[in-house]
């Protein structure tokens, strides 16, 4: 089972690196909610990490909220443990909640398979974009298609995202 374009967001409550628990409903007044499945160890996640931070900063004043979830098995991948998540969030200056999906239930419910994998929800929490951050993990200056940025901008303008779905590109989620 996985979310399709137009589906409602599935609620969750997860522990965060900030020491609190956060739920989807915490951000119910936000016009756009971006949920990204990511992790520490994956080079794709690391390659896109700063762009995700920059996009949250860019759209913060318009009320857009990012929430990043790590569902990887920390036994097989110790770099993705909750303690290591706390370190990375601090070192990289994450400007969004970095949540731990220890049971992997949220990732399974959303149908996430890769890190990073983006889900963009509108004000009614309908899925409006799903896939990659953009079309070039390797070179930010060579990006041709800014999928995530353009989807957020379109929703804020009351328009359809120009692209609704792209294949997520990244490491596989490390299931237990």
């Amino acid at each position: 089972m996985s979310l399709r374009i137009g589906d409602k967001a599935i609620d969750f409550t997860l522990p965060c690196t900030d020491g609190h628990e956060h739920s989807l409903s915490d951000w119910q007044d936000r016009p756009v909610l971006v949920v990204i499945f990511s992790c520490n160890h994956c080079p794709y996640a690391q390659a896109w990490e700063q762009r995700i931070i920059d996009l949250q900063a860019q759209f913060k004043s318009q009320g857009v909220k990012f929430a990043v979830i790590n569902a990887n098995d920390p036994v097989k991948y110790p770099a993705d443990s909750f303690d290591e998540m706390k370190k990375r969030a601090r070192e990289k200056g994450y400007n969004f909640p970095y949540l731990w999906d220890e049971s992997q239930e949220v990732a399974r419910a959303y149908g996430a398979t890769r890190t990073p994998e983006v889900f963009v929800f509108d004000a009614d929490r309908r899925l409006r974009y799903h896939g990659a951050v953009d079309d070039n993990f390797e070179d930010p200056s060579a990006v041709q298609q800014h999928y995530l940025r353009d989807a957020i901008a379109a929703l804020l303008a009351g328009e359809e995202p120009p692209v609704a779905e792209t294949p997520p590109v990244g490491c596989t989620i490390k299931w237990k």
Binding site: H41, Q46, G170, C171, T172
Partner: protein, 115 residues
């Protein structure tokens, strides 16, 4: 020159990395034999000292030698490029530099590991 190209199927960077390797070999005019190894088990990763996919060995030497204590794993490999970027692929410069460094090597004679 003997090149071993090691990869893990779940990590999607290997096709692009192999194409990049072949392109730079052609550009540099190097005579090289590439052997491709698909690793599927932790035991294989350990035997090859495989720290992530893709890994490229030229005459037995990693083009971007990892720290000696780096853990082996079936995972994607993090490459830190000279300009500070992080990528799942080695940079063209990294490959080119390694090819040129081994251009005059005498290839190793024994092939202990095959997959």
């Amino acid at each position: 020159m003997k090149i071993e190209f090691l990869y893990y199927e779940d990590c999607p960077s290997h096709e692009q990395a192999l194409a990049r390797l072949r392109q730079i070999i052609a550009e540099e005019g190097v005579e090289a034999q590439i052997r491709i190894h698909k690793l599927e088990t932790e035991a294989q990763a350990k035997a090859w000292h495989f720290v992530g996919s893709p890994t490229i060995l030229i005459n037995g030497e990693d083009i971007d030698p990892p720290p000696p204590n780096a853990p082996t794993a079936l995972t994607c490999r993090v490459y830190r490029w000279g300009d500070g970027r992080i990528s799942p692929l080695p940079s063209p410069e990294m490959i080119r530099r390694a090819l040129n460094a081994h251009r005059n090597d005498i290839p190793p004679q024994n092939d202990e590991l095959t997959t």
